[in-house]
Symmetry: none
Subunit: 207 residues, 4 copies
Amino acid sequence: MNDIIKNIPESKRDRILNSAFEEFSRYGFSNTSTNNIVVNADISKGLLYHYFGSKDKLYEVLKELAAELAFRDTVDEINWNESDIYRRVKQYYKIKIRIAKQYPYLFRFIDSVRYEMGESALDEYISTISPALYKNLLTYNVDFTKFDDSIDIRKSVNIIQWTIERYVDKAIEDIIHFDIIDEDKIWQQVDAYIVILKHAFYKKGYV
Amino acid sequence: MNDIIKNIPESKRDRILNSAFEEFSRYGFSNTSTNNIVVNADISKGLLYHYFGSKDKLYEVLKELAAELAFRDTVDEINWNESDIYRRVKQYYKIKIRIAKQYPYLFRFIDSVRYEMGESALDEYISTISPALYKNLLTYNVDFTKFDDSIDIRKSVNIIQWTIERYVDKAIEDIIHFDIIDEDKIWQQVDAYIVILKHAFYKKGYV
Amino acid sequence: MNDIIKNIPESKRDRILNSAFEEFSRYGFSNTSTNNIVVNADISKGLLYHYFGSKDKLYEVLKELAAELAFRDTVDEINWNESDIYRRVKQYYKIKIRIAKQYPYLFRFIDSVRYEMGESALDEYISTISPALYKNLLTYNVDFTKFDDSIDIRKSVNIIQWTIERYVDKAIEDIIHFDIIDEDKIWQQVDAYIVILKHAFYKKGYV
Amino acid sequence: MNDIIKNIPESKRDRILNSAFEEFSRYGFSNTSTNNIVVNADISKGLLYHYFGSKDKLYEVLKELAAELAFRDTVDEINWNESDIYRRVKQYYKIKIRIAKQYPYLFRFIDSVRYEMGESALDEYISTISPALYKNLLTYNVDFTKFDDSIDIRKSVNIIQWTIERYVDKAIEDIIHFDIIDEDKIWQQVDAYIVILKHAFYKKGYV
DNA sequence: GATGAATGAGGATTCATTCAT
DNA sequence: CATGAATGAATCCTCATTCAT
């Protein structure tokens, strides 16, 4: 499947993929018109079928690509030696923003697939790899000795993740709506929150 | 909106509603054919449009009805003076089964709407009334003094709800698949679980 | 299958059937566009599918109708007690012309089906009933005592049939091209030939 | 037209021609996809159009080639001094098998053209040269004095031809299906039949 | 010569909606 | 009330043909 994408000239490839990600995430599989996809991608109808053969196949390729980028590659790229929970989480969300800059609708697409499918290629990632990724992100090799023992660490960790996630998801929506984001500003704001969160959850010495 | 339903002769009404609930919950809004709805309801196409005007309007009416039955009426019907958590929860699920007997696909329909819509009439119930219903069901006027203080009451309550819910949802699927259920048997089995759960969560005196 | 045709109002029915007979006989099954059929029949695309469901089904119905008219009904209508070969053959071709007046392309359609199919519903008529019809037409209950014994009767009969057929097929082509024929004139010319043929093949007493 | 074929390197030529003969004979002109032709011939789409210009032109060239091989060249190659009907007929079918070994689908292609066309280049051969070829094959310079006078010679000749033809056509189908035939065996079997046929039709002295 | 990406008109089919009866 | 015939725009997909490389 990946061979299909590899063979498309870069210039067109992301136009096609983004157009398809957007349409499918907006309208679902059956309500998405290949017509709209090709118009937005500025290619001919024939070319879409030259590359992908059918609407079904296109959808499969998108699911495969989404799984690759959002789960497999991400797991490989994270530096699991980073034991500080804040830097660990920031790492992950920096990757997510980088992906969203290339494919703004990819994460919305993943959400929409989750809704449409019972058992499928992507579901493997959603139901298995995705929870595992999040679990490992927040636990594997994390230095919990920095945390204040009197506080529920798991919940603390959740609050940390949710807070950062909130900013990042808002940033991704900004990419979708305004086509551009001020990434520096995002990380500055995130860092400001991290200062507060460290005060709340870390032992005095680690703040 | 409710006037529309009121004006449909009883003999046809539930045939139409159930056919529509089933099709929409199976295939989603846009992938549902009004043709299938009228065939399964054994009415003419013209009649569907006579009553509902359009596919959109039909969908709206169904959402409204679903919200009415599954949330508004249910809230009104629950006896909020019943402070025993087990009897309280059983009350709710008895109502749910009664609704499912009349409209087997209604709860599947609600799930499907949640998936398809961003902001909609039903969302008001899903995002506001539905969580409130569940919260009140498990907390409002509930006599928590019966609970063993050493145990996390919230989690206990969740286990109680989840256990009962599991049986009820399975029963609703049976209504869909076999058209009939043995309700007595369901409640017997639920009661057997309640005995176990009371041992686990209630103070000795209340078991 | 015949129910489909029966349910179409007469005014439209023959417009549709003739348009389809013409297109299919001209271009073959796959090269025939349903678009052209509906344009020539002056109906909407949807209506064609409302009646016939698919291009395949339409083709099946046409084959069935062709077999019915050109073979089954024809066999039933011929007066097999007519033992004079000339009157017998004329009978058959009068039926053929009557059919062609209603469905000018029907016989061309049959020829085209013969070419496209291996084994099919119509083939049953073409490969079995059609040869049987011709054989019986020229032999069953025919009074061969009228023939001059010194001449090959079978060949004589063929010449008789071919001569009449030639005029009739030409007449059918005229129906196609000019929309109208002078049937009286055709039979006058045919009768003139019959006089000659009787001189050639019949015993003196029967001329 | 023949220049087109001449200019194609031998290595590719027969691959292209056989692929095209097969597709056209299977699916007819309009239902044949040039895509399938190039895939089966293992050439690019562009090359097909480089050589032939269009699907129509390709079809014309194939018809021309078929006429050349199956009629013109065959007529030239037959030794018309061979007056023995059995050897004469065997000659012809040996040529036919040699052609079929190079172009297995050529004779099926000719049959399919006959079906599709009204008036065309190939029809000239089908309607004029082909009947003439068969007529001459079975009559021109044939020594009929060998035949038993009491038997209808024409019919005898037909039986001779049909018998041999049956074996040869079966052999050609074997070429198509199994890619190989045992030609010696075919002629042995044909000769065995000839012995029988001579007994039936020849005067005692020529058996 | 040789490639195959690219085109876009045209293919069959579906379906929400209307309206005369 | 009730019907279902009728519409036609929109659906996915195919394919002969072109052309830059």
